[in-house]
């Protein structure tokens, strides 16, 4: 294990690496633009958006927010433990992080099932087109994040592992990006209108 000290004050070395931060900004701008389009359409078709929003389950949205925030907290703890060379603790926290992600997916599965059962698909109206596109695109990110977490956990526990603290930070940055995107989606989709 290598825990080389990096000067994060250097503009080229933000925590997790410059590439992951470029990805984070691209994702935030993409989701941000989609949400701006969503709000613009919502102001034009207020009644449709208001009635559709009332069909969403805010409680499930809140539960999912708590799951993602909790898993984000454990991810931050995992990075901290890895930096202090506590590999077993870091691995345990990574597993809890992955569990949070899995619970998010399970809740989303129930939410999607109920929507499909009631015939609320992307074809229903423009609100549901945005709802499905944005939440499904976010869900894909969560799935990719889970694969990265499990892979990082596997590689850090290997004998003679070459996993560096920066690798775990990059993995963490991707997972926190899923948090940030959800924090962006939740109030606009579930609470406004």
């Amino acid at each position: 294990m290598n825990t080389t000290k990096i000067d994060y004050k250097n503009i080229y070395y933000p925590p997790g690496g410059i590439l992951i931060w470029i990805i984070i900004f691209l994702e935030l701008i993409t989701f941000g633009m989609a949400l701006v389009a969503f709000v613009y359409d919502g102001t034009k078709n207020y009644e449709v958006f208001h009635q559709s929003k009332l069909q969403l389950n805010t409680t499930l949205g809140l539960i999912n927010t708590v799951f993602l925030l909790t898993s984000g907290y454990f991810m931050a703890k995992a990075v901290h433990e890895f930096e202090h060379k506590n590999i077993s603790k870091a691995s345990l926290y990574l597993k809890i992080t992955a569990l949070g992600g899995l619970l998010f997916i399970v809740v989303k599965f129930f939410e999607y099932s109920a929507k499909i059962e009631h015939g609320l698909t992307p074809d229903t109206n423009s609100f549901y087109m945005y709802y499905w596109l944005l939440t499904a695109f976010h869900l894909i990110h969560v799935l990719v994040g889970l694969v990265i977490i499990l892979w990082t956990n596997y590689s850090m526990k290997k004998p003679n592992s070459t996993t560096e603290a920066e690798d775990v930070k990059t993995c963490g940055a991707f997972w926190h990006m899923c948090d940030l995107i959800w924090l962006l989606l939740f109030p606009v989709l579930y609470l406004i209108f």
């Binding site: 994060y8 503009i11 900004f25 941000g32 701006v36 805010t58 984000g72 931050a76 901290h80």
Partner: protein, 81 residues
């Protein structure tokens, strides 16, 4: 100022609960409610980025860029509402 991860986590949960409470206790179509919700969202966003993602340690360029993106999205949404 360095805030521990535990305090950050508690603050995030509290802000989430306040968002839920504000939504259930208000009627639709009020701009000040949207403003409160978006400010709460911005606070959570900053806490996750600066404390969990350790952006606090990064060069000021990254902090300002994230702040700019956050402010841009927030302002456009508020202007549209």
């Amino acid at each position: 100022m360095k805030i521990s991860k535990e305090y950050t986590f508690i603050a995030l949960l509290a802000l989430t609960l306040v968002s839920g409470f504000v939504t259930t206790k208000t009627t639709e179509g009020k701009t000040y409610v949207y403003l409160i919700l978006l400010i709460l969202w911005a606070a959570k966003f900053i806490l996750v980025a600066f404390e969990f993602m350790e952006l606090r340690q990064a060069n000021v360029f990254w902090k300002l860029t994230l702040g700019f993106v956050l402010a841009l999205i927030l302002t456009i949404i508020l202007l549209l509402l």
